[in-house]
Symmetry: C2
Subunit: 198 residues, 2 copies
């Protein structure tokens, strides 16, 4: 099976970075040859998360067609949010939680979307369905994405599935997600790193 | 929860009719208020199937917005294959096995597609995931849809999932799907009902 790249949207948030890593891990367990990459530098919050869980920053790509024929999208579907040469590759899989807009394919594909607060919630379900265990470190990353997208389960987009996923992931990661979550959200608005002018 | 209509594409084939019935049954078990309808008269093959399993013909609609605000699509997503006033209703769920083309939404939705031979195969999986039992009569209808879409597992679009689903459904329906399948496919090209001119 030819290698595929897995990535989230441009100007990545924590969910875009983490969901790519989580989905790539799952798909590799299911036999796909995949690499999670990113379409831009992680933001401050995501850097805190990657550092906290001792996870490397993903490789950043500007184009995909120079490396692969096929890609898997997470946390987005709209072409203008995707890799610049998205029209030149085949999208074989999408896992998302946004509206569908301007996304067209030439062939049938795997498309999985639900109106949940975070796509890492949906990926948590996919691990369960496929009976693949989530490693503790990955569970920590995935619960960080849910904290980020739902503002610690406070945003109006939060669903019961997000609440269930964060609890299950916190147990696997062995972490107090509320204490950690406040620390993480603070890191995303890190006043200390700003200059006086800001 | 407000009532929603569930339907397949215009000029319905057996999968379009049956998948609407199967998905409506599953969603009703999951608490939705739904009615399976059709966008046109069943063809000869589908009439044979409905008659064989003593299942009523679905109600045929020309428009949806006069009845409901929201709909669920099966076996299609392209607006031009859908109900004439699809732009005037909200699509909350799609279960499909075709390419995505021209399908845009204003809000996040539930979208489930896989490149399998028949959408009734995917719906068989959804029953399993949701731990809802498939009644014997419905299993008979669903295996008929798989026989129709895959030409009795002979079409190049047939996947291992279609083969697994048809076997599971045949067991539930207690039917020899190969013998039945040949009879069913013959009924779809019923020479006896044609005039000499044809
Ligand atoms: Mn995002
Ligand atoms: Mn997200
Ligand atoms: Mn069809
Ligand atoms: Mn079909």
């Amino acid at each position: 099976m030819a290698k595929e790249l897995v990535f989230g949207h441009q100007s990545p948030d924590t969910d875009a970075i983490v969901a790519a890593k989580a989905y790539a891990y799952l798909q590799s367990k299911l036999g796909y040859d995949v690499e999670a990459v990113a379409l831009g530098e992680p933001n401050m919050e995501t850097n805190f998360v990657l550092n906290y869980f001792n996870e490397p920053t993903p490789r950043i790509i500007k184009t995909a067609a120079n490396e692969v024929d096929s890609v898997m999208l997470v946390d987005h579907n709209e072409p203008q949010q995707s890799v610049s040469d998205i029209a030149d590759v085949t999208v074989t899989h999408v896992v998302d939680h946004h509206r569908i807009n301007g996304f067209n394919t030439a062939a049938p594909l795997y498309y999985r979307a639900e109106p949940v607060g975070c796509v890492s919630t949906l990926i948590t379900e996919l691990f369960d369905e496929n009976k693949v265990e989530i490693p503790a470190q990955l569970a920590g990353l995935m619960l960080s994405a849910i904290i980020s997208d739902t503002l610690l389960l406070k945003s109006p987009t939060t669903t019961d599935k997000d609440r269930a996923a964060i609890k299950a992931l916190a147990e696997i990661a062995d972490i107090d997600y509320e204490t950690y979550g406040i620390e993480m959200l603070k890191a995303g608005t890190n006043l200390a790193s700003k200059t006086d002018a800001e």
